[in-house]
């Protein structure tokens, strides 16, 4: 079985993490989101994967190489410009000769969904779309059903106009004639796969497969913390102890640690924390509900709660990210009462005694001066000094 995975997505709401890596390469539970997807494909019996990659594709390619690590045949096609999911799928056309599964690389799903979608396609030879029921469907592609068939798909309708609680779960099965259908679809700048499917629904049967399993989407930064926490709970404690943890330090069972991690005396790495490779946690530092990317240094006495810290960042001694619930404004939308201590980008250089207020987002390569108080949105490469 072949699968095409769309892994070129930018995920602008996850700025600044998506400056240096595509959204599917953001890690949760210490592995890129895309790796969780690849694992599900592997379990479902897929043996050949075509990854559609775009900006920063080196991150994807260097991680998955040719798939030998998963015993899969992984190859790449490049989508130079982001012109929609339909356009992304078209890039894989030359590698597809037969029916295939297609899915998004930035949503974590179970293998069963892939199996069900594939089975329905094999039985019917019709295009198959997976749907799942959620409470607030209006920020997704809402699927109106006619029995077990798709009647229409509407992207992000107004909440009062949603016709159904079902949304497109982003897993499909197609025969190669989908490519011609995508090309026939009128584009308004973007070639969205859902436009093609909506059009197609008036001509032929499109089957829906209902899904009730794990469906983890990372849209906003705080979703990363929740998804990380869910996955740690789902997979259970890893049981691995990092090579270098001082006897007096605590690493909770519900925490994950990468290779070459060092945890110094009296530090506490508590629940929901993921430490990437080559991370150093200084004496007495306390971390809870946090995603720490690789090569990060957190110095003595810091408190980091409900927070994401980008790769190769240094937080100086006694940095405080207090965490807790707050209101956050992101891309002109106000989100009320989200649990979000902050998002600190890659390569940030933090001094001592920096205080990060809840909801702060710090751009890549920023310098946070000693004693500074950080809040709101800090641009990349900026220097914040004590005011």
């Amino acid at each position: 079985m072949k699968a095409v995975v769309l892994a070129a997505g930018k995920g602008r709401r996850l700025w600044p993490l998506t400056e240096n890596r595509p959204k599917p390469m953001i890690p949760v539970a210490n592995r890129p989101i895309l790796e969780h997807v690849v694992d599900a494909l592997d379990t479902a019996g897929v043996d050949e994967i075509v990854l559609v990659v775009g900006a920063n594709r080196e991150r994807v390619q260097s991680h998955f190489e040719d798939g030998q690590g998963w015993d899969l045949d992984i190859s790449y096609v490049v989508q130079e410009q982001q012109l929609g999911t339909g356009h992304a799928l078209l890039q894989a056309e030359s590698k597809i000769g037969d029916s295939f599964v297609a899915l998004n690389g930035d949503r974590i799903i179970n293998a069963e969904l892939i199996e069900d979608v594939w089975e329905r396609h094999r039985d019917t030879n019709d295009p198959v779309v997976s749907v799942t029921r959620i409470d607030e469907p209006s920020s997704y592609g809402v699927v109106e059903l006619d029995g077990e068939d798709v009647a229409s798909i509407e992207e992000k309708p107004l909440p009062q106009l949603t016709k159904s609680d079902y949304i497109n779960a982003g897993v499909y099965a197609f025969s190669p004639d989908i490519f011609a259908a995508i090309r026939r679809t009128d584009t308004h700048g973007e070639q969205a796969l859902t436009d093609t499917l909506s059009e197609l629904a008036s001509e032929r049967r499109i089957r829906a497969v209902q899904y009730r399993g794990m469906w983890l989407d990372v849209s906003e930064p705080w979703d990363l913390l929740d998804v990380n926490d869910s996955l740690i709970a789902y997979h259970g404690p890893s049981g691995d102890r990092p090579a270098s943890v001082d006897e007096s330090a605590v690493v909770a069972e519900a925490a994950l640690t990468g290779d070459g991690v060092a945890v110094h005396p009296q530090a506490a790495v508590l629940r929901g924390v993921t430490l990437g490779d080559n991370v150093s946690i200084g004496p007495g530092a306390i971390l809870e509900n946090a995603v720490i990317l690789s090569d990060v240094t957190i110095k003595a006495g810091s408190v980091v709660k409900d927070c994401i810290v980008g790769a190769n960042t240094t937080l100086g001694p006694n940095t405080t990210v207090e965490g807790g619930d707050t209101d956050v404004v992101l891309a002109d939308t106000v989100y009320h009462d989200v649990t979000f201590g902050g998002l600190i980008g890659d390569n940030v250089d933090g001094g001592g005694n920096v205080t990060v207020q809840p909801g702060t987002i710090v751009g890549n390569d920023a310098t946070l001066g000693s004693g500074s108080l950080i809040s709101g949105r800090i641009d990349e490469r900026s220097h914040v000094t004590r005011g």
Partner: protein
């Protein structure tokens, strides 16, 4: 240096041997050939790369040998391509190495045999032919033949109607791969890594008889047992993973390679290093001198290591180009540690120098990337750089891993010898730990480097300058450029420029200056001013904004202390890559070069 591939099993041998050659192409790519064994031999050969060689279609044949060549004796022509045969056309031989007495052997055979090529190899099938005429089996004929050969060789031999392969090894590398119903032959495991990770390394003097019943190994006529080992690294080597070239893939693998190189070796809490070194501490304390022997990129890593060893371990250290090495000067061999640096562990010049040191009575330590390679068996002790397989001919990730591992060794040795303060050790180890993240930051600036490379690609020549550890990085970065872009590129100690090379500097020769920490940037800036006043454009590799005012373009290196020059090297790998790419060079297969050179 050439590549040997072979197969005896149940699948079509032609396809498997052909793929094996393709995997080994980095060892040589100027001609190739395959012999398939049925009632007669089917031999296909070609001049040029393995891709030019048609994949054999005789799918019923399940035994074969193949070869991809890097010329030493004889031009890269179809006639000189292996396999070579005897007069009857029934014996086929592939060979990697050099037969030193081939002139004499050829003279003795010339009256009764017709030679079709200019190679040294061709004497082997004719010698086997003469022994087979005495009515002995192929194994015995090969044993008698190897008794007559002098030099280094790995050979694989088969014959028409003979459902088996005989291989022999003297110095040149050869190993066997074992699957449930098949045996593979390869110059290294890359040849068959997608089929099996269970291997047997043959030792010098071994002759292995491979038949459907299994493998029997002999050494000087005695039956011997050799261990079957499981390769530790996974098969991630084979493909390019979406990159245009192995070199670019390997450049991007460096953060991970570096994390592997240091993982589990540094105890930050105790500020100590564990490299699993068996050499006794008392001996290491008593060492008066370290000699480093290496070639090419490994030599540059050696120069870097020497600076660190002298500065921190307080031990006199000299670095020798392996092919020039001699043990003399009245040194005390019992107080001299010789460190051989070789990525492949098979570099003939380095192995030869290592043997010179061993004969003189010195103890030896190998720094290599390749498990089970010859150097690991010949040196007293080995430290692995754990970079993973490197296919691109131009070394990239193995250089940074060599330097990172050598830095760890310097700290280890310094601590054993009580020559280093905890403060300095912490500073060095933190710098090594910062390396992967800093290298990733350089990779994230790829577009800027690419643009600069395009801008300067048409220059007449490129000069790289640096001081202290910036000097080996200047040499290495210049080597990278000349290897893959064929441009004239030289590295100089920055202060040496005015003593001669400055005459070469014009407005068409960019000067690339290492201005990071640990390279005495303030002094080098004076040399930058010298070249700027001659109109040369200057690219600065710098971490301190103060220095960047004096240069035309800066590659920003993140602050990471003692390892900054290594990070600078990564930026210059990308620079070399994009200059070569702009010129459309065959980056993974530069003309006249091969990955590791197993001839002297």
């Amino acid at each position: 240096m050439c590549g040997i591939s072979g197969y005896l099993g149940t699948e079509p041998a032609g396809r498997i041997v052909h793929q094996g050659l393709k995997n080994l192409e980095y060892r040589g790519y100027d001609s190739a050939g395959i012999a398939l064994v049925g009632d007669t031999l089917t031999i296909t050969k070609t001049e040029g790369e393995v891709d030019e060689l048609p994949v054999p279609t005789q799918d019923d044949i399940t035994c074969g040998i193949g070869h991809t060549r890097w010329s030493t004796h004889g031009e890269p022509t179809e006639a000189n391509a292996h396999p070579h045969t005897d007069c009857t056309g029934e014996v086929a031989v592939v060979h990697n190495g050099i037969i030193e007495n081939y002139d004499a052997l050829k003279a003795s055979l010339r009256d009764d045999h017709v030679f079709k090529s200019d190679t040294d190899t061709e004497v082997i099938p004719h010698l086997i032919e003469t022994h087979l005429a005495d009515d002995v089996d192929l194994l015995t004929a090969v044993q008698r033949t190897t008794d007559q050969l002098e030099g280094s060789y790995a050979i694989a031999v088969t014959a028409a109607g003979y459902d088996g392969i005989v291989v022999a090894r003297q110095d040149s590398p050869l190993l066997l791969g074992h699957a449930d119903d098949a045996t593979f032959i390869g110059s290294d495991a890359t040849a068959f890594i997608e089929h099996t990770d269970r291997v047997t390394y043959l030792e010098s003097g071994d002759i292995a008889h491979i038949t459907r019943e299994g493998v029997e190994i002999y050494n000087h006529g005695e039956r011997v047992e050799r261990d079957v080992e499981t390769l530790e690294w996974d098969a991630d080597a084979a493909g390019k993973g979406g990159y245009d070239h192995y070199m670019l893939k390997e450049i991007h693998e460096q953060p991970r390679a570096l994390r592997q190189a240091i993982s589990g070796r540094v105890d930050e809490l105790a500020t100590s290093v564990d490299l699993d070194i068996d050499l006794p501490e008392e001996y290491l304390q008593s060492v008066e001198e370290i000699q480093i022997i290496a070639c090419g990129t490994s030599y540059h890593a050696g120069l870097y290591a020497a600076e660190l060893l002298e500065a921190h371990a307080e031990v006199r250290t000299s670095v020798h180009v392996a092919s020039e090495y001699e043990f003399n000067g009245g040194r005390d061999p019992w107080r001299t540690l010789v460190i051989a640096i070789t990525q492949s562990g098979e570099t003939a010049d380095t192995l030869s120098a290592l043997r010179t040191a061993t004969r003189a009575g010195a103890r030896t330590l190998a720094l290599t990337n390749t498990l089970g390679s010859t150097v690991t068996r010949e040196a007293d002790d080995t430290v692995f750089i754990r970079a993973g397989p490197e296919i691109g001919v131009a070394a990239t990730k193995t250089f940074v891993s060599q330097v990172a591992t050598a830095t760890l060794f310097s700290v280890y040795l310094a601590q054993v010898r009580n020559g280093i303060s905890t403060k300095t050790a912490t500073r060095l180890l933190e710098s090594v730990r910062d390396l992967p993240g800093a290298v990733q930051q350089i990779l994230d600036q790829e577009d800027i480097i690419k643009e600069t490379a395009r801008e300067y690609a048409d220059s007449d020549a490129f000069f790289y300058i640096g001081r202290a550890v910036g000097y080996p990085v200047a040499l290495e970065s210049a080597l990278k450029l000349k290897e893959i872009s064929y441009d004239h590129a030289e590295g100089f100690p920055a202060g040496e420029l005015k003593h001669g090379p400055l005459a070469l500097v014009t407005s068409e020769t960019p000067v690339i200056a290492l201005l990071t920490d640990e390279t005495r940037p303030k002094k080098t800036l004076n040399n930058v001013k010298e070249v700027k006043s001659r109109g040369a454009p200057v690219i600065g590799i710098a971490s301190d904004p103060e220095t960047t005012g004096h240069v035309d373009t800066t590659f920003d290196i993140p602050d990471c202390g003692a390892m900054e020059p290594v990070v600078g090297n990564v930026a210059l790998q990308l620079f070399a890559y994009y200059v070569a790419d702009e010129k459309g060079r065959p980056i993974d297969k530069p003309r006249n070069l091969a990955k590791s050179v197993t001839v002297e």
